[in-house]
Symmetry: C2
Subunit: 432 residues, 2 copies
């Protein structure tokens, strides 16, 4: 196999410049970051053909947030999608996925790739659009599309390699109310049921790895069998796919291809912890990328909050990368305001996850600084330290700019106690 | 002790009508519900002097949501507070607390008590207002106010009995950045520091219990020492108060007085589970009422989401009653829109908690019905089953009323798979 750009191989012998960059961003020791990349514990989203802000996902890294944008057949407005992409990045998103299915897909992608962030795609969408019909997609077309995305500068590709005949058998023998809710997953199921043949992404996985090893693009092993409702969470298709993804994760690493794993969709809150831990176990702690998880199915309109609850618990148990769920999930393509709200809440969940993953680390310093600013009733400092400072300020000043807030006024507990008990000096704790 | 109306004592010998009511509401066996009340595992919020919709909190009951309303010195508009109360109940709140500190407190409370819901108060607020100065509050005034609240029809009283000299010692010897953030807690700290004497609610706890045993009012043992920031969560004051509340919970039950425990405020997500379990252990599984918990301090403006994340995890570990945190928490007195947003998100968190507390119970049925409606693309049924049906519908129809949604259009996974794989009949599972 001719490896032109395998970060994994480079990391065996030194510290490539991409790893220097992410080590600086994350506060990691460069040599240790390189080892984590070599062991597949960190994935670096950095297609070398496109210069842009890169990002790392995994062990020791800040939890990252991805935001999905893209046209649909029903609502195709590429200018709006660019606006959504910019809004997401302005609100703190670390990466974007272009999930476009309507309009000129290559032109839209080219435009989105001008944004200064890692970008992911799902090549099967374009293959289906080009074939005209899902059952007319063949392996050659799919691999051609994948190659094109890599060359165009996409950083990570969701490929549903685990949606194979074995998973389909599990789906049939242990059926689910919602069947398959992953769009890409449903395409591969339709292709297998139509042809009777194995999913080419699974059957020709070595060939796929050759394409990717040549390009430095990260494979995100898609969870096409993710459950689509609470009741489906315990059915066998999901865990069957976990096992497959575990084997494919190892084959990817052995071939020098960086990979992430995509995790479950709709699962009860009590099952989030063990699902995350099981995926981590089966994949030798590969970086885990989650949509949600959604921990109830009746929250439509507030699914961004449902996802934030599931996501925070997932991070506490080891998840590394959260995909924003928009308030319009299950209802409509998000608009710009949905993207803003959803991104904020996802970033909040990721920060809570960071505190859980590294309780004594530098994330806690900002918490301590905020507590000190609150104790001093130093509002300007609070707005500076807050994740959503402008919104916080707008709420605070609506009742006038006063020393305390309009909730308690002069009966402010902090004001009362501050006179009686001195604030401790916590400065030494900041140096820990 | 002359016990005029002790639900606990009545439950030792039969099933009082209030318990019949809550057993019907909750789907419990009346005799078992009565035993749970007698053992202090369920608290019934039902002051007999005021006819209104009652509610139960605790073992086997749906997680309840309280919403705080009330004037402040800086923003005193009793009409607005009534509007907020009605909005909260319309959005699904189970109880209200009147935390007014501005204006004619008795008149405002009288008005709020006309609403058809359990109402709680914090009597120390009124005592401070009547004394003019916190250090002028004496035991007689405080007990007089408590008696008046009970007679007026208040259903539960937050009383910071655990803010005693021992807790104050813990606060001094193991200081916290934020000191005391509970408003009531800060009043008692100020009183103790001024007088050098024990908190009368602790010193004369037996007398307090006599007042309450006469009235059927529930005591909510306040968490005046709750931590006010992440960094303070591990300091000793909090756990010192837990131990005191555990002893007072037993004394309340022995005196025939129903009680709840109030739990921690700001704590990292990794500490939520063991804090809840520890309180439950120390209080012999008394009903647990939580504000938040807030699992980060830098989310101002989105603290309703921060509280929803902490609340769902708290419920998963045994919490019974969530106090809504508004989006304006730490910034300003909430307006009506804050109350609506906050109540919705708190109810969502409580529902997720219900699923966790009773995974095979009837909460799951609505989830199953939603999944079936989604599978059928039956939008009207989805809006009927959704927690926020009107909002969900408004989002869905903005791109036109179509068979699928504007996210995927004709590439809808459900539509593709539905043609290929039959939906399983899950009806038997609904009968479980």
């Amino acid at each position: 196999m001719c490896v032109m750009h395998s970060l994994i191989h480079e990391c065996l012998h030194g510290v490539p410049s991409e790893v220097e960059t992410i080590a600086r961003d994350e506060g990691l020791v460069p040599r240790q970051a390189a080892r984590a990349v070599a062991r597949g514990r960190i994935a670096v989203l950095a297609n070398p053909v496109r210069p842009h802000r890169i990002a790392a996902v995994g062990e020791g890294c800040r939890v990252k947030v991805n935001v999905n944008i893209g046209t649909s057949g029903q609502r195709c407005d590429p200018v709006l999608e660019m606006e959504k992409g910019r809004a997401a990045l302005a609100e703190g998103a670390d990466a974007l996925m272009d999930l476009s299915t309507g309009g000129d897909l290559q032109a839209i992608r080219k435009e989105i790739l001008t944004l200064d962030a890692p970008v992911g795609t799902v090549p099967i969408y374009e293959a289906v659009r080009r074939a005209g019909n899902v059952t007319d997609v063949d392996a050659d077309l799919l691999f051609r599309v994948i190659r094109e995305h890599c060359k165009q500068g996409v950083d990570f590709l969701t490929l549903h390699c685990g949606v194979n005949l074995q998973a389909l058998d599990a789906l049939k023998s242990d059926p689910r109310i919602m069947g398959v809710v992953s769009r890409g997953g449903s395409f591969h199921v339709a292709m297998m049921l139509s042809s009777g043949e194995e999913n080419p992404l699974y059957a020709e996985f070595d060939y796929l790895l050759e394409i990717l090893a040549d390009t430095g693009v990260v494979i995100s092993l898609g969870d096409g069998m993710r459950p689509g409702c609470m009741q489906d969470a315990e059915r066998h298709a999901k865990a069957t796919e976990y096992l497959t993804l575990g084997r494919l994760a190892k084959r990817s690493l052995d071939a020098g291809v960086q990979r992430m794993i995509e995790g479950p969709g709709h699962i009860p809150i009590t099952q989030v912890g063990y699902n995350v831990k099981m995926i981590k176990e089966l994949t030798d702690d590969a970086p885990l990328y989650l949509l949600g998880p959604l921990v109830t199915d009746i929250g439509a309109g507030y699914d961004h909050v449902v996802g934030a609850i599931g996501g925070a618990i997932a991070c506490m148990n080891g998840a590394d990368f959260l995909c924003m769920v928009s308030p319009s999930e299950h209802l409509a393509l998000p608009d710009v305001q949905d993207i803003i709200e959803g991104t904020r809440v996802a970033c909040l969940s990721a920060h809570i996850g960071d505190l859980a993953r590294d309780p004594k680390g530098h994330y806690m310093q900002r918490e301590v600084q905020m507590a000190e600013a609150r104790r001093r009733l130093d509002w300007d400092e609070q707005f500076k330290l807050a994740l959503f400072g402008e919104r916080a300020k707008a709420v605070h000043v609506r009742d006038g700019e006063t020393e305390t807030c309009s909730m308690c006024g002069d009966l402010c507990a902090l004001k009362i106690v501050d006179k009686l008990l001195p604030a401790p000096d916590v400065t030494p704790k900041k140096e820990e």
